[in-house]
Symmetry: C2
Subunit: 470 residues, 2 copies
């Protein structure tokens, strides 16, 4: 401990040394100073607190006399170990492990997370180490508000090659999560803007718009994605969609619907489409489907992507590509916001991409996830009856429709009783309407080990009383 | 290059191989593929694009024939170096180094940045390396929405010891900048909330409130800080202040004013004070002044701090301490936001603090900055006439009042002509009122080397035609 901060007040009846003594005693009793922590020297503390050394000495002697601290000859003063010290954490009743995102269940089918065993720890460690260097004073500066120019260049090249996105690095904005990007977009667009959201869709979207006092409409989907008629009638002017792998239904929007939506956007100047391309790096069969942005010739599509699925959510790096017109408005209105991603992290990620690690990691993971998905689908077919598998062969989750007469709530509850975390589709409906639909459940497979899948599905079959074998 | 993404369309008149050939040719001409980049193998690309190997072979042969690519026996196909390739960057006119925060002037007195030569690169490299480990799968998860519990514990201990802040780790929220924290607070408070801002004050504050459609009032200051009468009359209910080192005037709010403001807050349930304690780690003389939060017994003060001054702005880590009541509202309304700071960075910072590096760095920097400040003050006194030095001996900037008959604009312009970047106080007035005041200028001294200061001040004395020696 270097210092102890207390406002010593000479005008009080209580002598100064006693104020100091009482303060330190209280801190020790509340557990704020760990046992065996070294206290500041008398000289240090008296200089810092602008009091005489005698004051500190008197306080320390009193504390030694009462056993709160002890002195080591030629070393200094230390906090004693005291039985029955009140732990401040316990007193305040803090359970700051609360609302941990990853469940404590045995098998977790939630759609978040990535494969824990495949993260390239040693490569990440290496690029991180190599990028922290005294020569690069740029690491210590506030940096470009849109994010590191080199990282933006790498991202735009990658997006062009893998997703057909057309953009220059100057159109890229790097941020620390899709949530933060959406908050920037809400500030970029006019206040009276109305957002059209997929229903069902990513559950946080409506919360973000609500908390930022932005208007939104829930638009129904068919098998092709957001229904143009519903969008048109809603009066919304910015449509938020996931065309490459609709969340949560798993559909891929066909070219016909894409063109319909682009036409809708082209009808009015203030209309835009936000394309959230959250996990389409992982497409396991069929032709690659370029992003909606790649079809857009009129600057109507805002493309959003993330490293949360392709690398890890623990990194907190996402990005968006704005059309020229919007990037100009961005520079005018929002350029004062500093990019929230650390320079150290941006530089490491840039090196990770440029040195080819990222491309290799993606290829590896495409294989890992493909095998997990195949295992999952085959086990579901083998072990679960009355179950239909939905969704395209893309991304990190599949959807199943269960027809055994149970409600979604029952299915989830029974799974949980067997140690299985699983989400139902109704969670993703905006404002949770009481709708009549057959129970559908999401099976995210990224965090599960491939070998765990048969057992997890076996437990589901027992939970849902649908065992195929007698 | 692992893949090339293009939507090959069989229904077009143009043969498929020609579509592929044209795509690659265009990419090379636009400079999207660097010279000597390896193209995907015929097998890889045909599998990926779901076309025959013949299609790829025909396209590649055509490209070889025209000199766009070349083949290396037993290795593969590579992009040729082509004279006169159009650089996409140039075409789009991208100058993505625009609005660089750090100036290109010879001597920079702006208040941003830290001492470049004192950042503990090797220690930071070490803790970073040691925290990236395969055993810690927690790094790959989304983590706690308020930030890593261990880092919150370290921060709350540090704040208690150095700033007298009373809090448990459960009250701490970690984020990636004061800007982001303020946006969270705007969402936490009611929509009709009115914010009182110091005038002059930190220039980004009013922009953040404006962009988020929150109401604010500019409140005048006297030598003690925000004037209670002005605050009372404004009708505002949340006061944003910098009591430990007012930005930009440099005053320390005395205890009497602190109590007045706390009393103001206590008069109504919806009143709060946001205390921005941005650089008070660096106090060079006199008694330590604990935070306003340490005086607050009624849960009225929100404490905001940052590692931008104490470590580096490149790290992008800040934090706030919410009173119990507000933390409960936070958990209810905003817990869905993921902490924007990377897990890797949080873990490294936590280790950096717990291993004692942070405390030692602060002590070292207090000395470094103290000496720079002394040098600056002594050189100003020696070389500049008609100049008064204002502001307490805290933080990383001083304020000077210049009385040589020039306007603030003239002073800044003449300094710039001599290669000196300097800001005037009028920049920090909200809505820039045409006010009559003597020119005052900010001299930030963090990024300048101590040895540079005499020369920088000499140039100022020439620029302002006030040379003391003839």
């Amino acid at each position: 401990m270097n210092i102890i901060t207390i406002n010593l007040n000479k005008d009080l009846d209580e002598p100064i040394y006693e104020q100091l003594y009482n303060h330190i005693k209280k801190e020790i009793l509340r557990g704020n100073y760990d046992a065996n922590t070294k206290l500041p020297s008398k000289r240090q503390l008296s200089t810092y607190l602008q009091c005489s050394q005698n004051t500190v000495q008197n306080a320390y002697h009193q504390l030694i006399a009462e056993g709160y601290i002890f002195s080591k000859p030629r070393s200094g003063f230390y906090v004693s170990e005291i039985d029955g010290i009140i732990d401040l954490e316990e007193v305040v009743g803090d359970e700051y492990g609360v609302s941990k995102v990853v469940s404590k269940q045995k098998y977790d089918f939630s759609h978040q997370g990535v494969d824990f065993d495949s993260f390239p720890f040693s490569q990440w460690q290496r690029v991180t180490r190599e990028t922290i260097t005294e020569e690069d004073k740029g690491l210590l500066e506030s940096g470009h508000p849109q994010g590191d120019p080199n990282l933006r260049k790498s991202i735009s090249k990658y997006l062009h090659q893998s997703r057909g996105v057309n953009c220059s690095p100057s159109q890229v904005i790097i941020s620390s999560g899709t949530e933060y990007l959406l908050q920037l977009l809400i500030q970029l667009f006019n206040k009276d803007c109305i957002y059209a959201l997929e229903n069902p869709g990513y559950e946080k979207l409506s919360m973000i718009f609500k908390r930022n006092h932005a208007s939104y409409k829930a638009i129904a989907l068919d098998k092709k994605g957001m229904i143009p008629k519903g969008l048109e009638e809603s009066g919304a002017n910015v449509a938020c969609i996931t065309p490459s792998h609709q969340f949560p239904t798993g559909c891929i929007m066909p070219i016909s619907r894409r063109i319909q939506l682009l036409n809708w956007a082209n009808e009015e100047p203030a209309r835009y489409i936000i394309e959230d391309d959250y996990d389409s790096e992982f497409k396991y069969s069929g032709k690659p489907i370029p992003s909606l942005q790649s079809l857009d010739t009129d600057g109507k599509v805002i493309y959003i992507g993330t490293f949360s699925k392709s690398l890890t959510p623990g990194l907190r790096v996402s990005y968006m590509v704005l059309p020229e017109e919007l990037i100009n408005i961005y520079k005018e209105k929002l350029n004062f916001y500093i990019c929230p991603v650390s320079n150290f992290q941006q530089k490491a990620l840039c090196k990770f991409i440029n040195d080819g690690y990222f491309g290799r990691h993606l290829n590896k993971m495409r294989n890992v996830y493909k095998k997990k998905r195949e295992m999952l689908v085959s086990e579901v077919k083998k072990q679960l009856v009355d179950v239909e598998i939905l969704g395209a062969k893309v991304g990190l989750h599949v959807l199943i429709r269960v027809r055994n007469g149970m409600t979604e709530e029952e299915l989830i509850g029974r799974a949980r009783d067997k140690g299985i975390e699983i989400n139902g589709i109704s969670k993703y409906y905006i404002d949770k309407p009481i709708q009549e639909f057959e129970p559908m459940l999401l099976l995210g497979f990224a965090t599960l080990e491939k070998e765990e899948i048969p057992e997890a599905i076996r437990l589901l079959s027992i939970a849902w009383a649908m065992a195929n074998t007698y």
